[in-house]
Symmetry: C2
Subunit: 208 residues, 2 copies
């Protein structure tokens, strides 16, 4: 899941970099900063220094720190393309596709570090929690709920998010064994039926 | 889940409080401090000040800050009594009993605040994460795995923890709707079958 547009740092030619290279470098600097420092300690000024550009340029290209985080998360998760792909296809394997998408994002370590930084901040900081809530609600969960039928579509997407966030906490953040070191195929086998039921099964809800 | 031994603050008689009252007051002060300030910003000195005792007394009764957190978590969750209760009884309703135990702890707000403080710290701080890992591993997951048969008992307990921690993140910490406001019976209906399968069902694991 490497950003295909990124240029390795230090590999400079004599040409002055164009705007798209600069954008990519700012975004790479933002991702590195959110991953290393988390949301709270990341600043537009620090990102600009890392990318070797003026802070005003960062503001002009991306807006605020929050906008940069959203851009970094979007590159990491690519939800606008990948979630519709996941939701289409053989309905009986929907749960498995969701879990494999989740693993494809989290097992990739640079992306994982951005997400860990984000989740750590969201656990500690109400502003970061709101950003994550809005981002997941609007970009991830809404796309997951869209193709589902019924009044409980949003609830179903949220149930899925509760299982996936829990895997993230236990496997990647707190590190509880044996789940932390289990092979990816164990994760798929254990969780795909759960996600499948949350998305398409009988939830047995009390009649509301 | 109120601590049955605790005395409301300010309700003092003329008698000098005995050691058990002092212990209880120190523990109440520790719980309030972990809940308000989280693990990082809580200190034995601050807990002593809150309880109106000398820090040396806190050390003598409880040991370190980490020991105090373990004591506070144990009062909150009472795992040595409650988990064996949950694991016994009708096997077909095991998942439901686990979810109801989880809700009984988390829906009670003073206890929830301690747990939120703990999870926030564990997400941010490796020392707090290790403490939570050791506590959950030794006090909660081991008791959940003990009555299960088979080589995958620990994995099964960890799968359960991944779902319950995920509910905690989505419902109580990040607050993603509609799950954050769903009635407890919806939580039970949605999650009991998941927990039941993790503890007793076919996990479909790749042959190892």
């Amino acid at each position: 899941m490497a950003d295909r547009r990124s240029t390795p740092r230090g590999e400079r030619t004599g040409r002055r970099p164009g705007p798209s290279t600069t954008r990519t470098e700012i975004l790479a600097a933002a991702r590195a900063s959110f991953a290393e420092l988390g949301y709270d300690r990341t600043s537009v000024r620090g990102i600009a220094a890392r990318a070797g550009v003026d802070p005003a340029l960062v503001h002009r290209f991306f807006g605020s720190k929050d906008d940069l985080l959203v851009a970094a998360l979007t590159v990491a998760m690519n939800p606008d393309e990948r979630i519709p792909e996941v939701m289409e296809g053989e309905p009986a394997e929907l749960g498995e596709r969701v879990v494999r998408y989740f693993l494809s994002v989290w097992e990739d370590s640079p992306v994982r570090d951005v997400l860990i930084g984000m989740l750590r901040s969201a656990a500690a900081n109400e502003r970061a929690a709101r950003l994550l809530r809005d981002y997941f609600g609007g970009q991830v969960l809404a796309r997951m709920a869209a193709p589902l039928e019924g009044a409980d579509a949003s609830l179903r997407a949220t149930l899925v998010s509760s299982q996936l966030l829990g895997i993230a906490m236990v496997r990647y953040i707190i590190g509880i064994e044996p789940l932390a070191s289990a092979p990816p195929e164990t994760i798929v086998a254990a969780y795909a039926p759960t996600v499948q039921r949350y998305l398409t099964g009988d939830l047995g809800l009390p009649s509301a």
